[in-house]
């Protein structure tokens, strides 16, 4: 399995911009979970471009690295990344929410490059442990990355799975927390506080690193040499901004799931490119 290319930061920034455009375009005609998708866009672009040993031409290679998106509602970021890197046709994103394809609000395996479905929070860390255990049983060198939400850490099954990962000394497992500070509708620290999160994860047996989830150099260091401690699972807490790239949406609790008008989408695309500020009037805080 080939090592990923060492793309320049400039190239990664261009990829991220393109992924964000895809996310914005998926936020109409039914909408999507835009805030969480934008917070992890840089993370996914970095992982797919510089970290994961995978090839779009060998999706079933047993020696590939695995990425599991446990907080599945941010899947537009993954769809966008897979489209930009050639795993799926860009045109397929136009089928978002349509019955003739399987590009819907949560991940599923009908989309090439997606390893497992999610949507119910708190599941894929345990699935990732199963994959990592099997890799170790077979003497493989591949790694398993599980991207989890910070709000998802409310689920008891996450902590149960962390106990098990520690008990198995799974150092081929990397938990990546998209620490965008929000649950669905409320700041995590105002509802069920997670801090000190790094200490909690360390106490559960993880080697913990915190990183700016939008800084490609910092991400390069954090993911540069894994595992961080031999015999321990790794946790990387990526500090991110929900809605990153769109000031009208950034860090606003009510911009979780949104179904924008086409006009608003055009304004948001302009805002993404820094040419104008969007004026948004669509209902926010929709229940999905």
């Amino acid at each position: 399995m080939s090592e990923p290319k060492e793309d320049s930061n400039e190239r990664l920034r261009a990829l991220s911009l393109a992924v964000r455009e895809h996310i914005i375009r998926m936020s109409t005609d039914g909408g999507c979970f835009i805030g969480a998708s934008l917070s992890c866009a840089d993370l996914l672009v970095h992982l797919y471009s510089r970290v994961l040993r995978i090839s779009k031409d060998a999706l079933d290679d047993p020696n590939r690295d695995y990425l599991l998106l446990s907080k599945g509602h941010d899947v537009p970021a993954l769809y966008g990344t897979l489209a930009e890197l050639g795993f799926i046709e860009r045109a397929r994103l136009g089928a978002h929410l349509k019955t003739h394809d399987s590009v819907y609000w949560h991940p599923n395996r009908a989309v090439p490059g997606i390893e497992f479905h999610s949507g119910s929070l708190g599941h894929l860390l345990s699935v990732g442990i199963g994959i990592a255990l099997d890799i170790r049983l077979r003497g493989g060198k591949n790694r398993v990355f599980v991207v989890v939400g910070d709000g998802e850490l409310d689920e008891g099954s996450m902590w149960e799975a962390m106990l098990v990962a520690n008990s198995q000394s799974l150092d081929n497992l990397v938990v990546v927390v998209d620490r965008n500070q929000f649950q669905a509708n409320v700041r995590t620290e105002e509802l069920v506080p997670l801090e000190p999160l790094d200490q909690k994860l360390a106490a559960f047996g993880f080697a913990v690193t915190m990183v700016n989830g939008h800084d490609f150099d910092a991400l390069g260091s954090a993911f540069g040499s894994l595992p961080h401690v031999r015999g321990k699972p790794t946790a990387i807490i990526a500090e991110t901004v929900r809605g990153k790239g769109l000031p009208s949406i950034e860090a606003r609790a009510d911009r979780w799931f949104v179904n924008f008008t086409h006009k608003e989408v055009e304004m948001l695309l302009a805002e993404l490119h820094g040419t104008a500020k969007a004026e948004l009037s669509s209902e926010t805080l929709m229940v999905r």
């Binding site: 497992f116 119910s120 345990s126 699935v127 099997d134 149960e160 799975a161």
Partner: protein, 301 residues
């Protein structure tokens, strides 16, 4: 005859993909850590995580057999079973220990009386309820060969009856033929049902005894034939009345547009009195002679 764990150890020697998992419930597989080495995985008292891990291993081509007490396996981990095993239809075998009356004196927390209702509600999930050790072992062989998600309602007492028919997925086993009453039963209660059949026979009532070893996929033809060819049907189960064999029979008969006189013997809207098994059976009216009395009374009404 092999024990359950001897069977698993032997199967594991030829099937390199087999892994045995448990949520710290080793009673019937206590010697497997030594026999299987790293292919024995005990996750601790973490039923949900065990199912997620089993799904992950199945994605990599393994055949996991996951053990926990039936009540915690099918309820604590239900959503993981439905979502991580059921949706992709992964070949994970779920083995639920001490189901139904077999939880004896543990009390209602441990009484799996809805496990069949829950597991058969998962699309694609097979449900296997062995009556004794012989049937458990031949059924496990078929279940593992099927490579389909399956719930096994574990029971391994000494053989209840002489099994007459080969184990086929989706087929019931007719133990004895008769024309007055058909008794449909599964699990270890087959032994009590056989005692009831012999007793009824001595009282001049001809009984067909059917071992419904697989509630799903269910043997519809055998149920319809019992409705057509006998005067009364009886379902016997250590399960809530809702969602178990009685419900299955009702669904099948409705589907085939048949009506029948059916006596359900099950736990109706309550848990059973916790006690040692023999005392549970007496208290709840499930011993062979008590079943015979209940059936004769209904039949002669």
């Amino acid at each position: 005859m092999q024990t359950y764990e001897q069977f698993l150890a032997e199967r594991a020697r030829t099937d390199q993909g087999l892994v045995v998992m448990t949520a710290e419930n080793r009673a019937v597989i206590r010697n497997l850590p030594a026999a299987l080495g790293p292919r024995f995985i005990d996750v601790g008292i973490c039923e949900q995580t065990m199912i997620g891990v089993a799904a992950g291993m199945a994605l990599r081509g393994r055949t996991p057999i996951a053990h926990a007490l039936a009540t915690f396996l099918t309820m604590r981990a239900f959503e993981f079973i439905r979502t991580d095993v059921g949706i992709p239809g992964l070949p994970v075998t779920l083995v639920g220990g001490v189901p139904g009356f077999l939880s004896e004196a543990n009390g209602p927390t441990h009484q799996a009386l809805e496990d069949i209702a829950l597991m058969r509600g998962v699309p694609g999930m097979q449900v296997f309820c062995p009556a004794d050790r012989e049937e458990l072992l031949i059924g496990m062989q078929a279940v593992l060969d099927s490579r389909r998600p399956t719930y096994v309602r574990y029971a391994a007492p000494e053989p209840a009856v002489a099994h007459r028919e080969p184990f086929v997925i989706g087929k019931a086993e007719t133990i004895a033929d008769g024309h007055d009453v058909s008794i449909l039963v599964y699990g270890f209660l087959l032994a009590e049902a056989e005692r009831a059949r012999a007793e009824l026979s001595s009282r001049g009532i001809s009984v067909r005894l059917v071992n419904m070893r697989m509630p799903k996929p269910v043997d519809e033809a055998t149920i319809v034939a019992a409705a057509r060819e006998t005067k009364m049907m009886v379902t016997i189960e250590d399960h809530f009345l809702t969602g178990g064999l009685h419900s299955i029979v009702a669904e099948v008969l409705l589907k085939h547009r048949r009506s029948a006189r059916v006596l359900p013997i099950a736990m109706e809207e309550r848990w059973f009195k916790p006690a040692l098994l023999a005392d549970v059976l007496s208290y709840e009216g499930f011993t062979g002679p008590m079943l015979a009395d209940r059936i004769e009374k209904a039949f002669r009404e």
